[in-house]
Symmetry: C2
Subunit: 137 residues, 2 copies
DNA sequence: GTAGATGCAAACGCTTTGCCGCTTA
DNA sequence: TAAGCGGCAAAGCGTTTGCATCTAC
């Protein structure tokens, strides 16, 4: 009963947009979703992408991912609590499968702040880029 | 020699904008800076705020703080590496003085990602709000 | 006196909305 | 066939830029 699936139709546009998000290796911004979905449906308008993302969010089939200094990205829902890693070379955001700082939640800092949740993003090099930077010399 | 201080004038507007940022307990977004600076200089235009922030950034007198799902905030420079805490009640962003996860940098994850830097934001209740939620009943 | 700064308004870029013809069920 | 949907264009909204006026030095 989560979200509005009532009176909702299955269209090629929605199918393609969800496919693009599901097939990605990490969260995608609106522009990239539009770009990739257009390969299948060239006439696809940007407004439809925005409306579809809003619908998919309401249906809890995707989640919005906020990344520091970047536009909102989107990824499939249901992957639980996890964080993201950005490669400084290829500039791709990857999804991590585990939480690196599970101990933080529930603790209270000296300043009196009680931590109920956290957000972590990592930066560095992915293995592919690290390898090519060695072979490149 | 950091930034352009040459051919730069000291105006009341700039002085007030920097004062507002320095006096804040945490990073502020453009709108709030404008709002507070206007108390001193009512005619202050939003364009001047944007231009001044850009100048202060170039002079490395302030830094831009990216917070997940929020507009860019600004705080005084020179406070080193630290993170931010957002109170879910009063919705204020506070600055923390220490890094809670210094061990992350330099490590390589199983997936092959080499961590060179990290970004952490915390959510919860500040002591004032935690206290008032108790006395409120 | 003059280069630089401000304030206003127009321009921009991204997101949302309105409208109407098209499509799914 | 009808309600939902998509595409286009216009409207919003936050940020940037152009320009004429003002001001710090």
């Amino acid at each position: 009963m989560s979200g509005s699936t009532r009176n909702t139709r299955n269209t090629r546009q929605r199918e393609v947009i969800l496919d693009v998000i599901d097939a990605a290796q990490g969260p995608l911004p609106v522009g990239r979703i539009h770009e990739r979905a257009r390969r299948e449906v060239p006439s696809l308008g940007i407004a439809t992408v925005y409306r579809t993302l809003k619908l998919l969010l309401a249906q809890e089939r995707i989640v919005a991912v906020e990344l520091p200094g970047e536009e909102t990205h989107y990824e499939p829902a249901g992957r639980g609590h996890h964080h993201h890693f950005r490669c400084l070379d290829c500039e791709v955001w990857f999804e991590l499968t585990t939480c690196l700082v599970p101990h933080l939640d529930g603790t209270t800092l000296r300043e009196g702040f009680t931590i109920e949740g956290h957000y972590l993003a990592l930066y560095g090099r992915c293995s592919a880029c690290a390898a090519s930077s060695i072979t490149a010399r």
